[in-house]
Amino acid sequence: MALNTLVVDDSSVMRSIIIKTLRLAGLSLGDVLEAGNGQEGLKLLEDNWVDLALVDIHMPVMDGEEMINRLRKNKEYHDLPVIIVSSESDSARIEMLQKKGATFMHKPFTPETLREAIIEATGVSHEDQG
């Protein structure tokens, strides 16, 4: 099964790194969508089917925490697997996000780390058949 993935980060460079690492992780990827903040990410979810979201915490307009709060209240996307990709190391904040059902991945990360985080978040290995 190919994973349709949404990458939400205000840094276009960071989005590029995440997408590059996704492609190196050996998983079967479908469409990869990009958004510069939580609000843009939610808008993309209205029009596209997404299996996984990789979300930064600190972003202008709408941060990652608020985006997750709104996702969890959404009928269609309340159980969307979310991986937080951040430099955050505040354990209380990380724990609070994990309680909201997000998997946490600290920067920097390797394709192997990302792969493990995706398997943990989705419960499926999504092996690349190609």
Binding site: V13, I17, S86, S87, S89, K107, P108
Partner: protein, 158 residues
């Protein structure tokens, strides 16, 4: 204290360069590398139990190499080069501060900021607590760690 910061800065710096842009340390700094002019500088300010900033100075084509490797683009713009260097600074800062234990009440990292070269060259940022050179296979990074005021967790003599 200085030793702890040096160790944390070196570990975080090497990990960030290796895992994020596939740049690896080269042990020996050749004479020509010692004289490399600074091409860009980026700082990230942190606030927590203590406050300050981490500065990265790029030399010898490093900012180009970082952007090329991060973006998989052979011709990154100046803006992309600065953004890529800023991301590296952000990642290093996000790994150094927790390693020093200065987060009992949480901490905040500000967005990376490009620093005009004359500010660095004229030493307008003050004296860093720690300064080190990471010699990489494509360029050189000078990492500087500044603490505003004092450092509240002095090293214990054991």
């Amino acid at each position: 204290m200085k030793t702890r910061v040096e160790k944390a800065l070196k570990t975080a710096g090497m990990k960030a360069f290796e895992e994020t842009c596939y740049l690896y340390p080269v042990p020996e700094l050749k004479e020509v590398q010692e004289m490399l002019p600074m091409e860009a500088a980026v700082e990230v300010k942190y606030r927590g139990d203590f406050t300050g900033r981490i500065l990265i100075e790029a030399r010898g084509g490093l900012s180009q190499a970082i952007a090329v490797n991060m973006l998989s683009s052979q011709d990154p713009s100046e803006e992309q080069k600065m953004d890529a260097l800023g991301e590296i600074a952000n990642i290093i800062c996000g790994n150094v501060i927790p390693a020093l234990g200065g987060i009992s009440q949480g901490y905040r990292i500000e967005a990376p900021r490009c620093i005009p070269l004359n500010e660095v060259q004229n030493n307008l940022l003050g004296e860093p607590l720690v300064s080190m050179v990471l010699n990489l296979n494509q360029g050189r990074a000078d990492l500087k760690f500044y603490v505003d005021g004092y450092y509240p967790a002095p090293e214990k003599n054991t």
